[in-house]
C-alpha cells in the first residue's frame, strides 16, 4: 500500500517508477504466501524484470526533477481520483468481509480430487500445459524486449542531448 501511494504521490516520475517496482515485488510475496511459487517467480521475471525495467527506461529519458516542482500538489482531478479510489477500496473490503469462505472451501475439495485423478493418470498432459504456459509468458517477454530495443536505439543521441540540457 505504501508503494502504491508512492506511485501516485511522488512528483518525480522516476521515484514513481521505482515505487511501482516495489509494489510488484510485494505482489510476488503475496503469491509466495499463497503457495504459488511458480506464479511468484513469473511475477518477478515478467513484471519486475522486464516491464518495470522498460517503464524505468522510458521515464529516465524525461526531464529532470526541477520541471515538476512547478506543478501544484493538489488539483480537482486528484480529488476526484481520490474519491473514486477510496470508494472502490471500501467496496472491496466490504465484499471480502461479506463473502462466506466456507462455501469456497467446500467447493475446492472436489477440484482437488479431480486434480489428483488427472495427476495420477495423465501427468504428461499437465507437463505440456505448464510448458505451454511458460512459452506464452516468454512471448510476452519477447514483445517487451523488442519494444525496449526499438525505443533504445534512436533514443541514445536524444538521451545525450537531454543529459547535456540537464547538466
Amino acid at each position: 500500500i505504501l508503494g502504491s501511494l508512492g506511485v501516485v504521490l511522488f512528483m518525480n516520475p522516476i521515484f514513481s517508477a521505482f515505487s511501482l517496482g516495489l509494489v510488484l515485488v510485494c505482489i510476488s510475496l503475496f503469491y509466495i504466501l499463497s503457495n504459488s511459487h511458480f506464479v511468484a517467480a513469473s511475477q518477478l521475471l515478467i513484471y519486475v524484470g522486464a516491464i518495470n525495467v522498460l517503464i524505468i527506461f522510458v521515464v529516465v529519458f524525461m526531464n529532470g526533477s526541477k520541471y515538476y516542482q512547478d506543478f501544484r500538489l493538489w488539483t480537482v482531478g486528484d480529488g476526484i481520483t481520490l474519491m473514486v479510489c477510496t470508494s472502490i477500496f471500501v467496496s472491496l473490503i466490504t465484499t471480502i468481509l461479506d463473502t462466506s469462505w466456507r462455501e469456497i472451501i467446500w467447493t475446492t475439495r472436489p477440484n482437488q480430487i479431480i486434480e489428483q485423478d488427472l495427476i495420477s493418470t495423465s501427468q504428461q498432459i499437465g507437463i505440456h500445459l505448464v510448458e505451454g504456459y511458460v512459452i506464452g509468458e516468454l512471448c510476452q517477454l519477447l514483445d517487451v524486449g523488442l519494444v525496449g530495443y526499438q525505443l533504445m536505439i534512436p533514443s541514445l543521441p536524444f538521451a545525450s542531448q537531454l543529459v547535456n540540457h540537464q547538466g
Partner: protein, 363 residues
C-alpha cells in the same frame, strides 16, 4: 514457602527449556545460511586473487606476491582499502537512488545462491522452481543499475546504466530459453532433479552432450549477463570512464565489485549444474565399485567429494571467463544487440523446438 519455591523453580526450568529450544531452533535455521554466506565470501576473495594470477600468467608478468604467501590475501587488502576510503556523493544527484542501487545489485545475486546443489541433496532449499527462481531474481539487477546510472547525475553513468539494462534484457531471453530446454529434458525446474537426471549414464549422461548448441548459447549469454569482456559495454573504460560506477567510491564501489564476482561465480555454478552433471562423480566404471565401498563407510566423505567435484567443474568456467577477458576485444553496442537478438535468440528458439519435438517423439 517450600511449595512456592518448588513451583517457581519448575516454572523457571520449563521457561529456560523452552527458550533454549527456541534458541536452538533459530540457530539451526540460520546456521546453513551463515555457512553459505561465509563460503560465498571466501569464494569471492579466491576469485579476485585468481583473476590477478591468471591475467598475470596470460600477460607474462608477476601477479600479487607480497600480501601473504603467493599474494593470497590481496583481496582482503583491497577490501580493507575500500572500507577506509571516503564515501563521495554527487551534489545534484539523487542520494537515495545513488545509495540503494548497489544494494539491489548485491542482494538480488546473493538470493540466487540458495538453490544451488553443491553435493548430493546438499542444497539450502530445494525449490520446485529453482532454476526459474534464479532467472527471475537475476532479472531484478538491471533496476539497481538504472538507479545507479540515473542517480549519479553524470552523462557517462547514465549511458552506462542504459547500456546495462538493455544488455541484461537482451541476453536474458536466450538464457531463459536454454534453461527451458534443460527443464524439458529433466521434466523439472528443480536443480536437484536436473542433477539427478544427468546421473543415469555417468559421464555420457551430462546435458552437455544432448544440448551442445544450448551450452554455447548459455555460455555467451551468461558472459553478457555478468558484463565481462567482450561484453563489458556498461563499464567500457575507454568510452564511459566506468559507466554507472563512475561516481562511486569506497564501499559502494566495492559492492559493485563484489556483485560482479558473485555474478560470475553463480553463472559458472549454473553451467556446472545444468550441463556438467553437478556433483556427480564422472570417473569411469572401473573405479565405481571402489567408490561405492568408500561411500558405504564414510557419509561425510561423500559430501566433501561432491562439493570438491562441483567446485572443480566450476573452476573450469571461471578460468574460461577470466581468460576470455584478457584475450578478446570489446564489442560495439550495435554488434552486441545484433548478436543477442539476431543470432542467439533464433538459435536458442530452434534448440527449444528441437528439444520439444524430440521429447514428443520419445513419448
Amino acid at each position: 514457602m517450600i511449595i512456592y519455591l518448588t513451583e517457581i523453580q519448575d516454572i523457571h526450568f520449563f521457561f529456560r527449556l523452552e527458550s533454549f529450544k527456541e534458541i536452538y531452533g533459530i540457530i539451526w535455521v540460520f546456521a546453513p545460511i551463515l555457512i553459505l554466506i561465509l563460503g560465498i565470501t571466501i569464494s569471492v576473495l579466491a576469485i579476485v586473487w585468481l583473476e590477478r594470477e591468471i591475467s598475470a600468467g596470460i600477460q607474462q608478468r608477476i601477479g600479487p606476491e607480497y600480501t601473504g604467501p603467493f599474494g593470497v590475501l590481496q583481496a582482503l587488502a583491497d577490501g580493507t582499502k575500500l572500507l577506509f576510503k571516503e564515501n563521495l556523493i554527487p551534489s545534484r544527484g539523487d542520494i537515495r537512488l545513488f545509495s540503494i542501487g548497489p544494494s539491489i545489485s548485491v542482494i538480488s545475486i546473493i538470493i540466487s545462491y540458495s538453490v544451488i546443489p553443491f553435493g548430493y541433496n546438499f542444497v539450502l532449499s530445494d525449490l520446485n522452481i529453482g532454476v526459474f527462481l534464479w532467472i527471475a531474481i537475476s532479472s531484478i539487477a538491471p533496476i539497481g543499475l538504472l538507479m545507479s546510472g540515473y542517480g549519479s547525475n553524470n552523462k557517462y553513468s547514465f549511458l552506462g546504466g542504459l547500456r546495462a539494462a538493455a544488455q541484461s534484457i537482451s541476453y536474458e531471453i536466450p538464457l531463459t530459453l536454454c534453461v527451458l530446454s534443460i527443464s524439458l529434458l529433466s521434466n523439472s525446474l528443480s536443480t536437484v532433479d536436473i542433477v539427478d537426471a544427468q546421473s543415469k549414464y555417468g559421464f555420457w549422461g551430462w546435458n552437455l552432450w544432448r544440448q551442445p548448441m544450448g551450452f554455447i548459447v548459455f555460455l555467451i549469454s551468461s558472459l553478457a549477463e555478468c558484463e565481462r569482456l567482450p561484453f563489458d559495454l556498461p563499464e567500457a573504460e575507454e568510452e564511459l570512464v566506468a559507466g554507472y560506477q563512475t561516481e562511486y567510491s569506497g564501499i559502494k564501489f566495492g559492492l559493485f565489485y563484489v556483485a560482479s564476482y558473485l555474478n560470475l561465480f553463480i553463472s559458472s555454478l549454473f553451467v556446472t549444474v545444468l550441463y556438467f552433471g553437478g556433483s556427480n562423480i564422472s570417473i569411469p566404471y572401473i573405479f565405481v565399485s571402489d567408490f561405492f565401498e568408500i561411500n558405504q563407510t564414510y557419509g561425510v566423505f561423500v559430501t566433501i567429494i561432491g562439493i570438491f567435484i562441483t567446485l572443480a567443474k566450476t573452476y573450469l568456467f571461471l578460468f574460461l571467463s577470466i581468460a576470455t577477458r584478457w584475450t578478446l576485444p570489446r564489442l560495439r553496442i550495435d554488434q552486441l544487440l545484433n548478436l543477442g537478438w539476431k543470432f542467439l535468440l533464433p538459435i536458442s528458439l530452434g534448440n527449444l523446438l528441437l528439444t520439444t519435438s524430440s521429447q514428443l517423439f520419445s513419448l
